[in-house]
């Protein structure tokens, strides 16, 4: 039974991906992409990776979908240009052969991976009591491979600043992104008012349970960001200007706390990002809390884009 379910799911994912690539029109393509993300989230559940399923649903389908939709609504025209830039059939056949070879090579490689599979699962679980967390993925993200997570948190700051730096000079300091009119009536604006309080609770819940169950700062932060975006497009919340110091501290707080706790390790433990025994969990939770805030802020700002209205 579960095999049938998996095959169905696999075919659906490939089908939706192909449809998304081939469909004319950008809007349907984005919808196809969101459906693709939802299906992938189901695949992740089938693979037993619930943490990833949460991330895929929130970030892969939800936030990326909104990001793409914003671009679709604002990019118009250019059909002649696009036609002129379309590769000729021989070029497309060549590309198809090349990509087919890559896909085939990958499939062959995947099918020839050694058996039994090498795995760090036992190692990762063995040290968890030292950290006081129950979710091995949190252990990997916050301890064993903490440097990856720290650099990734810094990448988010890079991205925000890079996006802002694309602004026209005269717009510097202004509010990021377009301004949305207040939607004062109608079912949509009602939903936009009702949903955020629920979403904020869910977001904090997902971030909080991350230490012991699937969830964590990236998933929770994304949900909080989604609620912020909702309030923003409904005209209920005005984003602070890019010159706002508070906004900037919100974006860098997570990585700074992360680094601060890391450096503390030099003094009270065995070095950078090492947690003293017994204090690991509170320190991890402290980093997670600050990171949830920064991830949420960074995602809202990345969706909003550079400042584009007069200051």
């Amino acid at each position: 039974m579960s095999l049938v379910l998996d095959v169905m799911l696999a075919l659906a994912v490939i089908g939706v991906a192909g449809w998304t690539l081939l469909v004319r029109g950008n809007f349907p393509a984005v919808i196809g992409f969101v459906a693709y993300g939802l299906l992938l989230a189901l695949v992740w559940v089938r693979l037993g990776a619930v943490d990833v399923a949460l991330t895929e649903a929130a970030l892969g389908a939800g936030a990326t979908g909104v990001l793409l939709l914003f671009a679709v609504v604002r990019l118009r025209g250019g059909k002649a240009e696009i036609d002129a830039a379309t590769p000729s059939p021989p070029q497309r056949v060549a590309a198809a052969i090349l990509c087919g070879v890559v896909g085939l090579g990958l499939a062959v490689a995947m099918l020839n991976l050694p058996d039994p599979a090498p795995s760090l699962a036992a190692e990762a679980t063995r040290h968890l009591p030292l950290l006081g967390v129950g979710n091995p993925i949190t252990g990997v993200l916050m301890a064993y491979r903490g440097l990856d997570t720290l650099l990734e948190a810094v990448v988010l700051v890079f991205a925000v600043l890079a996006i802002w730096s694309m602004a026209p000079d005269r717009r510097w300091g202004a509010i990021p992104g377009p301004l949305f009119p207040v939607q004062s009536s109608g079912p949509l604006s009602l939903l936009a008012r009702v949903l955020p309080p629920i979403g904020i609770v869910v977001g904090i819940h997902i971030a909080w349970v991350g230490a012991d169950a699937p969830g964590g700062k990236f998933q929770g932060g994304t949900i909080l960001a989604a609620m912020g975006i909702l309030a923003w497009v409904a005209g209920l919340w005005r984003l602070p200007p890019v010159a706002s110091r508070g906004l900037r501290w919100a974006v860098v707080a997570g990585p700074l706390v992360f680094i601060g706790v890391g450096l503390l390790g030099f003094v009270i433990a065995d070095g950078f990002l090492s947690y003293p025994p017994g204090f690991a969990k509170p320190l991890i939770l402290l980093i997670e809390a600050a990171m949830t805030l920064s991830v949420a802020a960074a995602i809202v700002l990345m969706v909003a884009g550079p400042p584009e209205r007069p200051a």
Binding site: V102, G105, L106, V108, A109, M110, N112, L113, P114, A117, P118, S119, L120, E123, A124, H127, A143, Y144, R145, G146, L147, D148, L151, E152, V154, V155, V157, F158, A159, L161, A162, W164, S165, M166, A167, P168, D169, W172, G173, A243, R245, R248, W249, V251, V252, P255, L256, I259, G262, L263, G265, F266, A269, D270, G271, F272, L273, S274, Y275
Partner: protein, 491 residues
């Protein structure tokens, strides 16, 4: 391998610029600039101490982040190659910061402006990313470092906000993203096959089976795309030539070298020798094609900056001649080729940074960078033309210069290992390089009947920085060869 004392230095080399970037971004305005300038001396000092320590101990420095040893944890490793690249990076970043003070300064009390804030933050960001890329001991950690590098490089290159820049940098971004994805596919397969992504642990375990071969091919193609090795160079000239001078110098001098060092790690550490022997000649052949093609196209450029960018395409080619000379050669020949390759990467970094900065000064002073109309440039910006010429000497491989030592070592290794055809390519490349450098110099040195005035005042400090970098690229050739034993530590 165990963690060694002094590992905290490696961590600080990542954390210091990152913290500077975060604080600079949060505080904004003039403080971002202050932050970057304040961090230059400690950054340089850390790199110098690391190199001195390595030369003293003759062994790599290793840190396990958080005390977790691989395969579960992440290692940072500074071997000789990494230490040499870290010092090169620190020096060039410092030079570029000094150069850029004239362009991106914020007066006390002045409101924050876009370009200065972005410039100083991303200078620190690129510094952190480069350090991460040279120190990383884990293939996935290096993926994150490469992404940081791409984002930072992209933002710096678009700093002027011109449509041509957006277009060129989008092309760069697409190449870089495809490159990253291919690289990431390789890491998946390697993890699936060996259960670790640590470079040294992989080196002990690697077999020449199907997953490894597919992983190696995907990662190599991805990294070559990021480095713009012929025929994947299409994005580079416009992306590097269109950026502001300080950014071009960073992109051409340093950023491509991060992918190069990673490629060396992949082939000379991770992959089994049998695979390397099969692939090395192909890589060198592409390198040779890059040298000849890049130089010929550079010779025909009408614009100075594009000429310098095509020169990068050519000089990257030299880096690949090292592969067949190191692989399968006797120890002494291999050491010579290895040193030559590393020295080429370092001397090109200095020379190319100098060239782009000098070209930037000249282009600003004249208001254009058309080579045919450079007459009088030597009178307006004499130091810049001198810097361009000295850097050119190093690129050509004329003694005494770093480029000469590098090419001489490669040449010797080619002859000693009986692969004389690569020697021919090196000589031909040097001649062609001479052609395009002299084309620029002869135009710039020509007098002009009418008196000439600079369109914008020439900043003497900027000229001196360009000259300083060019002088370093030449002086590298005067160092005794024993000094380059550094890059052999931990090989």
């Amino acid at each position: 391998m165990e963690a060694t004392p002094g590992g905290f230095l490696l961590v600080l080399m990542l954390v210091v610029p990152v913290t500077g970037l975060l604080l600079g971004f949060a505080l904004g305005g003039r403080l971002a600039e202050r932050m970057a300038l304040w961090l230059l001396p400690p950054g340089l000092a850390m790199a110098a101490v690391l190199v001195a320590g390595l030369l003293h101990a003759k062994a790599p420095v290793v840190a396990f982040v958080g005390g977790w040893a691989p395969p579960l944890g992440l290692a940072l490793r500074a071997d000789g190659l990494a230490a040499a690249m870290l010092l090169t990076t620190a020096l060039i970043i410092a030079a570029i910061a000094l150069f850029a003070r004239a362009d991106y300064t914020t007066a006390p009390g002045a409101p924050e402006a876009r370009a200065p804030l972005a410039f100083w933050c991303f200078l620190l960001a690129l510094w952190a990313a480069l350090n991460a890329a040279f120190l990383g001991g884990d293939l996935f950690n290096l993926f994150v470092a490469l992404e940081m590098l791409t984002f930072g490089a992209l933002a710096l290159a678009c700093l002027d906000g011109k449509a041509t820049q957006f277009k060129a940098e989008l092309r760069y971004l697409l190449f870089a993203l495809i490159g990253s994805v291919l690289y990431l596919l390789g890491t998946v397969l390697l993890y699936g096959a060996y259960g670790t992504l640590d470079i040294l642990l992989l080196a002990e375990a690697a077999r020449a089976d199907a997953p490894t071969i597919v992983a190696a091919s995907l990662m190599t193609v991805g990294l070559l795309g990021k480095m713009a090795l012929f025929p994947l160079h299409l994005w580079l000239p416009a992306a590097h030539a269109g950026a502001p001078p300080a950014a071009s110098a960073l992109l051409s001098g340093l950023v491509v070298k991060a992918s190069y060092v990673l490629l060396l790690r992949l082939w000379f550490w991770v992959m089994p020798a049998a695979l390397l022997l099969a692939v090395a000649p192909i890589l060198a052949l592409l390198g040779a094609a890059a040298i000849l093609f890049g130089s010929l196209v550079a010779l025909r450029q009408a614009r100075l900056k594009l000429l310098v960018a095509y020169s990068t395409v050519a000089q990257i080619g030299y880096l690949f001649l090292m592969f067949p000379l190191v692989a399968g050669s006797a120890a002494e020949v291999a050491e010579r080729a290895w040193t030559g390759g590393a020295l080429q990467a370092i001397s090109h970094a200095f020379a190319k940074a100098a060239m782009f900065l000098a070209a930037g000064v000249i282009a600003r002073a004249l208001g254009h960078d058309r080579i045919a109309e450079l007459q009088g440039a030597a009178r307006i910006a004499p130091l810049s033309v001198l810097a361009f010429g000295l850097a050119g000497l190093s690129l050509m491989g004329i003694p005494p210069s770093g480029g000469f030592s590098a090419k001489w070592l490669l040449l010797q290794a080619a002859l000693d290992s009986g692969q004389w055809w690569w020697a021919l390519v090196i000589v031909a490349g040097g001649l062609l390089t001479g052609g395009y450098v002299f084309r620029v110099l002869s135009a710039a040195m020509q007098g002009r009947s009418a008196p000439i005035f600079p369109l914008a005042p020439v900043d003497a400090a900027q000229e001196r920085v360009a000259l300083g970098l060019a002088v370093i690229s030449v002086l590298l050739g005067l160092l005794p060869l024993g000094a380059f034993g550094l890059v052999l530590i931990g090989r």
